[in-house]
């Protein structure tokens, strides 16, 4: 009974990798990455209370390896945008994202971070994807902890398949670099 999390086994990682035409090394690397996410909670509003609930023992984000919130972007690879982002905060959010080491992933936590939510006015940004690329959006005002865990599992699948925004950007750069090498 219960929800089967298919991607927690390395054997399933091989299936993902085959679909995504990954090398053996990529399979193992991505498998490792998805179970050792270090999150940076960019908490701006009331969704932060729900984030605490997810991180606390009852729902326990640590079960999925996203154990330890780091409060320095240099030490984290998962940016959780939790709460309303104002236009004035845009440069700060972008700066935090730019400072994170690649590869990195972003979760928009709640409707405000995803779309601006019920704000439609001069100060609220209509979704943090106006400024940074977002991998997974979580609706809800605030979202249930189960939704957050579901989103985290979706993100883990995405990491295994190498489909995160920054993973694709790295891959694109590699292709461009190797093409340039072939020409030279």
């Amino acid at each position: 009974m219960g929800v089967e999390i298919t991607t927690t086994r390395l054997s399933d990682a091989a299936l993902w990798a085959k679909a995504a035409k990954q090398s053996k090394l990529d399979q193992v690397t991505n498998w490792g990455r998805k179970f050792s996410l270090f999150s940076y909670p960019f908490v701006t509003a009331c969704c932060g209370m729900e984030f605490m609930s997810v991180a606390a023992p009852k729902y326990d984000l640590a079960r999925f390896g996203a154990e330890f919130p780091r409060f320095s972007p240099r030490q984290s690879d998962l940016l959780m945008v939790v709460g309303t982002i104002t236009e004035k905060q845009g440069p700060a959010l972008k700066r935090v994202y730019d400072q994170m080491a690649e590869p990195k992933w972003v979760i928009a936590f709640g409707v405000c971070a995803s779309t601006g939510g019920f704000y439609q006015n001069y100060h609220a940004m209509p979704g943090c994807d106006q400024v940074i690329p977002v991998d997974v959006y979580i609706p809800g005002c605030p979202p249930r902890p189960e939704q957050v865990l579901d989103a985290l599992i979706m993100l883990m699948d995405r990491i295994q398949a190498g489909r995160g925004h920054s993973q694709l950007a790295i891959k694109r750069e590699q292709i461009i670099a190797s093409a340039a090498q072939d020409e030279g």
Binding site: E87, K88, N121, H123, Q130, E173, A179
Partner: protein, 185 residues
């Protein structure tokens, strides 16, 4: 509740008070704009008044407002003041309070600052300037307080478009670096 404040005010500054009213237990005195500092100084320093606690300063935009008792066809016209600036004062000594209201027209949106008398009004007046564009003359540092300096206009004015955005960063700025890599080839 504090009718005696209004009575003392009208006695001492009869020429400066346009009219007085009471609403929901609050006493309101409409003060002429050029007499505001004189009235406020008196309210602060007179021992029977002793207003030592500034509560708030804000503004009301009466763009589409029809005063009570006015026929629906008669709109709030241009020659009548569009903005009302409110100062709420309180005396912790005598435990009474009063609200000063000043009518400010749209074409000449300026007002003498009270930040010199009560320093707590410094940021409140900055906020009023930020949101409504009322210029407080004599204010020590009249800059925007919440919004960024690049912001154009005053968002809490009723004629500011609801859906107007003034972003500082946008996605287009981010993709420029990657798209330029492709163009070099």
């Amino acid at each position: 509740m504090s009718q005696k404040v209004l009575d003392a005010l009208t006695t001492a500054h009869a020429a400066a008070i346009e009219r007085t009213e009471s609403q929901h237990g609050d006493e309101i005195a409409w003060v002429k704009r050029d007499q505001l500092v004189a009235v406020a100084t008196w309210l602060k320093n007179d021992p029977a008044m002793a207003f030592d606690a500034p509560v708030f300063c804000t503004c009301i935009d009466r763009l589409d407002w029809r005063p009570l008792g006015v026929a629906p066809s008669q709109h709030w016209s241009e020659d009548k003041p569009r903005f009302e600036v409110c100062y709420q004062l309180r005396s912790s000594k005598h435990r009474h309070r009063v609200r000063l209201k000043i009518a400010v027209p749209e074409h000449d949106a300026r007002l003498p600052s009270l930040a010199g008398l009560w320093p707590a009004f410094d940021w409140q007046e900055r906020e009023t300037f930020d949101m409504y564009g009322i210029k407080f003359e004599g204010h020590p540092d009249l800059r925007r307080i919440y919004l960024y300096e690049e912001f154009v206009g005053y968002p809490l004015r009723k004629d500011y478009p609801k859906e107007k955005r003034q972003p500082l960063v946008r996605r287009d700025d981010l993709t420029r670096s990657t798209s330029s890599v492709g163009k070099e080839k």
